[in-house]
């Protein structure tokens, strides 16, 4: 067993894990943060995405011990002070989710997309960037629409702030 400590959603935490424990398992079972989902075990589906030191990573594909000292944001930490993130709101407003299982990963991925590429996103770029996220319900149509809407709104917010 190894002790791992990291910041999760702004809170310093630590836990005892078997060395082989995946970050996704640590978050779900040790921390009770079940919003991070496990959909494929082979890092294809993206349901397990979290932000690790500001980058989207598949938490099923790294060990919990590898995240020692890192800052992790899970879907539970995306909204701040009870206020939904623009991306979360956009998924709701554009019906970008149905069964909800892929949704946490989609939202984490979409926020990361805008962090990396900015808010000027066209449909082709969004679709290409979602390569690592699988959804079986929505046919992606409304997910793409939601991300575009959120990017546009974030651009407005940024513009207003300038």
């Amino acid at each position: 067993m190894t002790t791992v400590s990291m910041t999760v959603n702004g809170k310093q935490i630590s836990g005892e894990v078997e060395d082989r424990t995946l970050l996704s398992t640590f978050l779900r079972e040790n921390q009770g943060l079940t919003g991070t989902h496990i959909g494929c075990d082979t890092s294809q589906c993206g349901a397990c995405l979290v932000h690790l030191d500001g980058k989207a990573v598949k938490s099923c594909s790294m060990l919990a011990v590898q995240a020692t000292g890192s800052a992790v944001i899970t879907i539970e930490g995306v909204s701040q002070n009870g206020e939904l993130h623009i991306m979360q709101k956009a998924f709701k407003e554009n019906h970008g989710l149905q069964c909800g299982f892929c949704t946490p990963g989609m939202i984490i991925s979409a926020i990361d997309m805008i962090d990396r590429l900015g808010t000027d996103l066209d449909e082709k770029t969004i679709r290409h960037e979602l390569e690592g996220n699988i959804c079986r319900c929505t046919g992606y149509h409304n997910i793409v629409k939601a991300i575009k809407a959120a990017a546009d709104e974030m651009a407005e917010v940024l513009e207003a702030a300038e």
């Binding site: 496990i38 539970e76 149905q98 909800g100 299982f101 679709r127 979602l130 390569e131 079986r136 319900c137």
Partner: protein
Amino acid sequence: MTAEGIGARVLRKEDKRFITGNGRYTDDVTMQRMGYAAFVRSTHAHARIKSINTDDAMKMPGVDAVLNGHQLVADGIGNIICGWMIHSKDGSPMNMGAYRALESETVRYVGQAIAVVVADTQQQARDAAEAVVVDYEDLPAVIDSLDALKEGAPQLHPEAAGNLIYDWELGEEAQTDEAFANAAHITRMDIDNNRLIPNPMEPRAALAHFDPSEEHYTLYTTSQNPHVARLVLSAFYNVASENKLRVIAPDVGGGFGSKIFIYPEEIACLWATKRVGRPVKWTSDRTEAFLTDAHGRDHHSIAELALDENNKITGFRVKTVANLGAYMSLFSSSVPTYLYATLLSGQYNIPNIYANVKAVYTNTTPVDAYRGAGRPEATYVVERMMETAAKEIGMPPAEFRRINFIREFPHQTPVIMAYDAGDYEASLNAAMKVIDYDGFAQRRTHSEAAGKLRGIGISCYIEACGIAPSQAVGSLGAGVGLWESAEVRVNAVGTIEVLTGSHSHGQGHETTFAQLVSDRLGLPTDSISIVHGDTDKVQMGMGTYGSRSGAVGMSAIAKALDKVEAKAKKIAAHLMEASEGDIEIGNGELKVTGTDRKLTFTEVALAAYTAHNLPEGMEPGLKEGAFYDPTNFTFPAGCYICEVEVDPDTGVVSIEDFVAADDFGTIINPMIVEGQVHGGLVQGIGQAMLENARYDEDGQLLTASYMDYTMPRAGDVPSFTLETTVTECPGNPLGMKGCGEAGAIGSPPAVINAVTDALGIRDMNMPASPNRVWQLIQDNGLKQAAE
């Protein structure tokens, strides 16, 4: 209509928990002292089990028990059943091989459960399962259904000679043969429908708990129909009596049919929890899901269409061999029969139809209902034939369909179904207009100038939903009635809980069902909660599949609302000293028509519960239940048109445009309906372009992960243009037809008709992968033609 009533684009009430990570799926539920199950699975497609050695596994850390099929049988756990009896054309009942939750003698597909390990952690359980040594004696395996029917093929079950489960027919053979004898033109095609793996994003899971003091079981499970699960687990598998078994299907992450069935794992967890004396949880990994979730489709068909000299269809003859895998799953027998051949009339006036279906066993994963279930297979056969026949007789495909459309309703087809309403020309016209069908020739010229091949394909689909009138399906062999139940509980403060037997696993019932109540009573949807998925809360229900939750589930709610309204009116009339017939309900109020006298719904609800001043003899309270049994199937129909461009150098097909024009009857929430269509379309396009379950000759599944099975990604598909045309369904109180499966039913032939049009060829199989398309281009010398 109220702001949140029928027809309004109300945002989903359930979304907040999902976008914040607060959904509660089965694997999210934990219990004190919970152990984890892992299954020992067959690595062979067909083998006799000589021995199962668990000695090493039992010594591993954290291991509680390793249980096998001998113990399961000794404990009286029943064999897995198929709930729909099909009789062969000679009148004999279907030949069903024994199917045990844990097999201890002969395994018949890779992934079949042999034993279950329970340990302290999931990892320990999986490690121990790896350490169980099963000694196999290999038997020859058969994978393809046509091979399984051949003389000398490996035999799977002693109960099914020649691997034949049934040899079934529908329609009039002699009359149909006569139509062919007199035909002016006959189109004949070999048509395959490729095997698919459902892949809801949430893998299946089960958490079973046994309370020894109460002799009571609780099962959390990923089910589309928890009440059916309880019924089957109780009545056939002898796990517990129904009153001692609570089944909860909490948030479920998609189903698409694959979560209708009761699988070996749920049975094993329920059985094991009592034996090991602790709660037992099993969560499938993705490869287990590929190997053990019931697969879909897998038909080989030979279809023939007879036309007269005016190009009117006079006969349709289809012979299909359906691969049902190694065992009969819960509803597998009905899929290639009553859910398939009954739709072979399509949208067309076809006086003579004859279908013959042979269902066979093979050493593959069991096959059962997957989004559309039989109807995509029927639509694919019909619409590939329509397109091909039109080309053979030199008639525009739209025109050929038009002259054969059914135009008068009700219309009795020769294959059981009585279509109640529709306007097929309206959806064809709508789709052709939106895609600018007339401008296609010009677009093709542009593509050719760029070295690309362009094609356009039409698919006019019809399906039967609203499953189904209980008496009718009973007469066809169903073991259950297919009604739905609802209970509307008005609380004393006027808020409402609706209990429904339908189950939402992405469909948005918490919103649409509340919209119905809002529409009727004029109350905000925030004050209406939908309760589902728990056999302790909802008395009975048949669950969600076959696009039935609107047409059947909501009709039950509508019936219960009728009763609530009637009682509320009586109370209001009494309190306002008016005649009951003069009371109208709306805006959350009960008013005396033509006066300013009114009571709020809350005041009436409170009066019902205080019971201080009720009409003489009236019981207190305001709560009503209803069971709704459909009077007929419903018949959603529409027209899909796909336009593709093919790169002759690479064989890559890109969808340039896709238009869907659907007639779903009454639509409760257009936003949600559009979402259902988008998702269905991508599953259908996935089948047509990307997805294919492949076995090697030894029966190893080659496509058992997302690295090998091509799920549609966002970059593989376009955005869609949707249109709706409306003919109301006369068969239910809301006029609804259902929308959940249409996209997956209608789209595959549209895609393949477009690809074959682009390539200028007649025949091709799905999926239109770059490899296959490139090969067709080489075989047909098309690259030169494009240059």
